[in-house]
Symmetry: C2
Subunit: 116 residues, 2 copies
């Protein structure tokens, strides 16, 4: 089932969500970091640095640094691939799942208040 809404509803939703994020002032991820985090949690594993870099069309150091930052916040975890020890497998964490759950709730709550 697809979701339909108007142009102004779409912008209003973005506005309300980003405003809530800014006003809250808690965890504040860049657009790139959020894209990486959501990819890790919504696309099928396994996720490697190289794979994420290709999927997001950015360089590998960008992924490494984003994982450093989000790992510091316990939003993701890293682990060497035992099968090929050159690879790093990026894994989800309880903290990360919790963060995205709240983010999803925020979107839903704001979507519900949209006027046509």
């Amino acid at each position: 089932m697809s979701v339909e809404f108007s142009h102004s509803q779409a912008l209003r939703l973005l506005h309300d969500v980003s405003l809530a994020q800014v006003r809250e002032g808690g965890v504040d991820l860049s657009n790139r970091q959020l894209a990486i985090l959501l990819t890790i949690y919504m696309d099928l594993p396994p996720h490697t640095v190289r794979g994420l870099a290709a999927k997001l069309n950015v360089t590998k150091p960008v992924i490494t640094r984003a994982l450093d930052a989000m790992g510091e916040m316990d939003l993701v975890a890293r682990r060497r691939d035992p099968a090929d020890r050159r690879n790093v497998i990026v894994q989800r964490t309880v903290q990360g799942a919790l963060y995205l759950e709240k983010l999803g709730d925020l979107v839903i709550a704001n979507a519900r208040t949209l006027q046509a």
Copy 2:
């Protein structure tokens, strides 16, 4: 008319939109900048630096710097208030309206593809 969707739909929408923004690699605004831009275009004018700072719960220099950056991209314009020359009135631009129109289209297009 409100818009209802599921938790995973909400996150999928965020994922697709942020991914498109990152992959595209064009104009990339911080969360704060986007919140400011959307406020300028969706809330009733007039918009002052102080007013925006209060609405977003950030300090005034944050607004000034964001307006500097977005003004450089022609997404917003500044003008002294003739009635009280201490104030600066923030105005919309054609370029800014165009950017938000594309952004809204991106959200709508992605929302349409959501699966239940």
